[in-house]
């Protein structure tokens, strides 16, 4: 069967996908092979599975459901500080979990701001612990991501479409039905699947806000299998189950999100003529901003005092974290760009699936697996930082692919044939057309990867060397030594650094006047 010519080869992408799959499945196999005993599935594992699925479905549906009106409002409105607001809205996603939880509790907790107001008026304080607390925290973490993914969908609609719609007098419902609904159908399944998978592996949130053993997730069951029972077999089994669930969700999402894009446009800045209702849009923007920014303000307020008394060691670990985040971002781009190109030219859903596996993999299993594999050759502690950068890149890969793939498909379909007729192929197409046209998505993906890596406390805990702690690990150590004020200061520093990295990279990628 003759294949139609393509402007870029899919081979590097397939190789990158194989590498990622080898990292995730190889480490899982290493853990399984090392297992001494196994008890198989217990009743409490089934309870954990049930709770995990319930909270992940609820969290994904609510996050995406809220993100649609918010993203629509942001896509339609231009106001002062809009791009700053969009950057700030990204913050919850990249905060270390315990910091974000403490921030949320200062707003929604038993002695939080809202409860204080309620108690003042004679009502009882709100109860945040339980399933609803877990879902609240997950929406806080994932609403920004969902909003950004959906907003990107809106921005990928060529401005000519809106121009034509305005000329034809399409407004309101018909505009929604003709332009926005098909776009949402293409974007939403992916967004749902990503958030479902993120919440599937929830660990600290579920445990802290869940209220008790009712809220055990699979990831916690894996942790327990490791620490107290040292039952590697059960850990591997649970991890495989988690992978299978995510792969199923991802596969369903990939099937559902088929559908063509909107074709080529001239990249004019999008202008909107459909009025919509400014009051309703403002309502959604203000609601989302309040929900996301109040807990962040709480983090800032409690951190300011500690920020000026930070020990040098915290500064040092901040520098280490920036280094790891930079390395992780470079690794990510080296993996994700060829993979996105491969998906765009050959519709390799297996390549996409390999990328999504990173979401479901338990950092604990990957870390332990790498430990088992590295140990005969070298001292794992010496490799703590490179391993952390690599694993963080694999963890950020699913997000990067969700951001890059739609744009990559559009770029190839818009410019592929012309490029081929000009004999522009391979590396030339990749560097002259592919990368420049995807700058905004590359910037966003790189920013996200850098920020996620900054906040990560997964593998480093297993490999840690006392001399080279990353900032999140240092924050935990401060808390363990009762230095709560310094920990809050460290958390604020982490927030500022993550935001700055994200903003720099994301900003650097944008070429439209508007974001």
């Amino acid at each position: 069967m003759a294949r139609s010519a393509q402007p870029v080869s899919s081979l590097p992408g397939v190789a990158a996908a194989l590498l990622v799959a080898a990292l995730i499945l190889g480490t899982l196999t290493a853990v399984a092979l090392r297992a001494e005993s196994g008890h198989g599935f217990s009743f409490s594992d089934w309870t954990a599975l049930k709770f995990t699925l319930t909270q992940a479905v609820l969290s994904a549906v609510i996050s995406v459901g809220l993100a649609v009106p918010v993203a629509r409002a942001l896509a339609r409105r231009r106001f002062k500080g809009r791009s700053l607001l969009i950057a700030l809205l990204g913050a919850p996603f990249i905060l270390p979990v315990i910091v974000a939880i403490l921030g949320l509790l200062q707003v929604f907790g038993r002695s939080g701001w809202i409860s204080d107001v309620l108690v003042y008026f004679g009502a009882s304080p709100i109860r945040i612990y339980g399933l609803h607390g877990v879902v609240l925290a997950h929406v806080f973490f994932n609403l920004p991501l969902a909003t950004r993914l959906i907003l990107q969908g809106w921005q990928e609609v060529p401005s000519e479409r809106f121009r034509l719609a305005a000329q034809l007098g399409c407004d309101g419902w018909s505009l929604f039905r003709l332009i926005e609904l098909p776009m949402l159908k293409r974007i939403l399944p992916g967004a749902l699947a990503v958030i479902f998978a993120i919440c599937l592996t929830s660990f600290a949130v579920a445990l802290t806000l869940g209220g008790g053993p009712r809220a055990t997730t699979i990831e916690l069951a894996i942790y327990q299998a490791f620490t107290y029972d040292f039952d590697l077999g059960r850990a591997a089994l649970l991890s495989a189950l988690q992978l299978a669930l995510t792969a199923a969700a991802a596969f369903a999402a990939l099937k559902l999100s088929r559908g063509e894009g909107f074709g080529a446009g001239l990249d004019r800045a999008i202008q909107r003529w459909d009025g919509g209702t400014p009051i309703l849009d403002s309502f959604w923007i203000i609601l989302a901003a309040t929900f996301l920014l109040l807990p962040l303000s709480a983090v800032v307020l409690s951190g300011v005092a500690g920020l000026f008394a930070l020990p040098f060691l915290v500064i040092k670990s901040a520098l280490i974290s920036v280094g790891v985040a930079s390395a992780s971002t470079i690794i990510l781009l080296l993996l994700a760009l060829p993979m996105a190109a491969a998906v765009a030219v050959r519709r390799h859903s297996t390549v996409e699936l390999a990328g999504i596996l990173g979401l479901a993999a338990s950092p604990l299993v990957i870390g332990t697996g790498l430990f088992i594999i590295i140990r005969p050759w070298a001292n794992p502690t010496d490799l703590a930082l490179p391993v952390t950068a690599l694993v963080n890149a694999a963890m950020a890969l699913p997000f990067a692919l969700r951001i890059l793939v739609p744009a990559a498909k559009d770029t190839v379909s818009r410019h592929g044939r012309l490029a081929l007729s000009l004999n522009m192929e391979g590396w030339v197409f990749f560097t002259r057309v592919f990368i420049p046209r995807m700058r905004p998505q590359i910037g966003f993906a790189a920013g996200l990867a850098a920020a996620l890596s900054m906040g990560d406390l997964g593998v480093i805990a297993l490999f840690a060397d006392p001399e080279i702690a990353t900032l999140p690990l240092q924050i935990y150590r401060l808390m363990g030594a009762y230095k709560m004020e310094a920990a809050a200061g460290g958390a604020l520093l982490l927030l500022v650094l993550s935001m700055s990295l994200f903003w720099l990279l994301d900003r650097g990628g944008r070429w439209h006047a508007e974001a």
Partner: protein, 326 residues
């Protein structure tokens, strides 16, 4: 890169001498090695007498530390493991990874100590920390009947959480399940580890948090804040005794013995109270730091023998899970 550094180092006389020094590797938990923990001071004091290089490696907490050693098996770099507690001893011994010690010391523990493998280095009583002035229950029963809100840790992922499970089990035996059923509406949430729970408590999320009777000493001595106290429970208080042992496969057996002996000496023991915020296993000649006399001293110390702790956990964990899953 590393090889270059080593090669460059060999050219200078001082590094050449450093390279001849034997190295003792001690695995411990994270907070021990942090700059605010005992680690840096212990390293300085031991290196002053041992003519060796002390390498402290931090691995999360005590339970994770044991898992790490089991993962590495006989192939481990560790010469000494420091940071298990009595509840982990039985499991640790079954691995066959540890060797007997020859340490003799006059322990000031509230219980008799005669273990041929594990040497205790500090201890403390579990207790609920609260803000002074609050009305405080004086037993688990009273706590269960009150509206007092508490924060606890998960016994499946933390040593204090496991300590609480065994505390209730050793105090109430077969009635432990009923106590947990009564406590379930007092529990605000169950956290993975100590840090999360203590952070939530300081943020005002509950009236009391499971910690140690020595926790108020930190606030008093390091922060000059005397607003925290611990609740005295009539049943007695369960203890945590933290221990260390020599690995059977060590290539530095003499140094490891030297370290274990050093660990029960004044030099080490006087570092513990204000860095690890626990009681020293052998009270140093200089006594306890000022402020420790204000701490609550439980009338009765509870502690299950290592082999009983494993059996008690096996029985108590399902009870706990069931009571809190309702």
């Amino acid at each position: 890169m590393k090889h270059l550094l080593i090669a460059a180092g060999l050219l200078t006389a001082t590094s050449a001498m450093a390279a001849e020094k034997p190295e003792l590797t001690v695995y411990t938990y994270d907070s021990f090695v942090s700059d605010w923990g005992p680690g840096p001071k212990v390293e300085e004091a031991f290196e002053a007498i041992c003519e060796c290089d002390l390498n402290l490696v931090g691995v999360e907490d005590g339970a994770a530390l044991l898992s790490r050693l089991r993962l590495e098996g006989n192939n481990t770099d560790a010469d000494v493991a420091l940071g298990l507690d009595t509840n982990l001893i039985e499991t640790a011994k079954k691995t066959g990874l540890f060797a007997p010690h020859a340490v003799e010391a006059k322990y000031t523990l509230p219980v008799d100590w005669a273990d041929e493998t594990f040497v205790p280095y500090d201890w403390g009583y579990f207790a609920f920390v609260h803000k002074k002035g609050a009305s405080v229950p004086s037993s688990f029963r009273e706590l269960a009947e009150s509206d007092t809100k508490i924060l606890i840790q998960d016994p499946r992922s933390s040593t204090p959480g496991l300590g609480l499970l065994l505390w209730v089990k050793s105090a109430y035996g077969d009635e432990a399940a009923d106590i947990w059923a009564g406590l379930s509406d007092n529990i605000v949430t169950v956290t993975k580890g100590w840090s999360e729970a203590y952070g939530l408590f300081l943020d005002g999320e509950a009236d009391m948090v499971l910690s140690y009777t020595t926790s108020p000493a930190y606030h008093l001595i390091a922060e000059e804040d005397d607003s925290k106290a611990t609740a005295a429970f009539d049943e007695g208080h369960y203890m945590q005794v933290e221990v260390a042992a020599k690995l059977a496969g060590t290539d530095q057996p003499e140094l490891a013995d030297k370290f274990l002996n050093f660990m029960v000496s004044d030099a080490f023991q006087s570092i513990i109270p204000t860095t690890n915020w626990m009681y020293p296993a052998v009270t140093p000649a200089s006594g306890l730091p000022a402020g420790f006399e204000t701490l609550q001293t439980p009338e009765k110390a509870l502690l299950l023998a290592p082999e009983d702790a494993v059996a008690a956990r096996r029985e108590a964990l399902p009870e706990w899970l069931e009571a809190l899953s309702q």
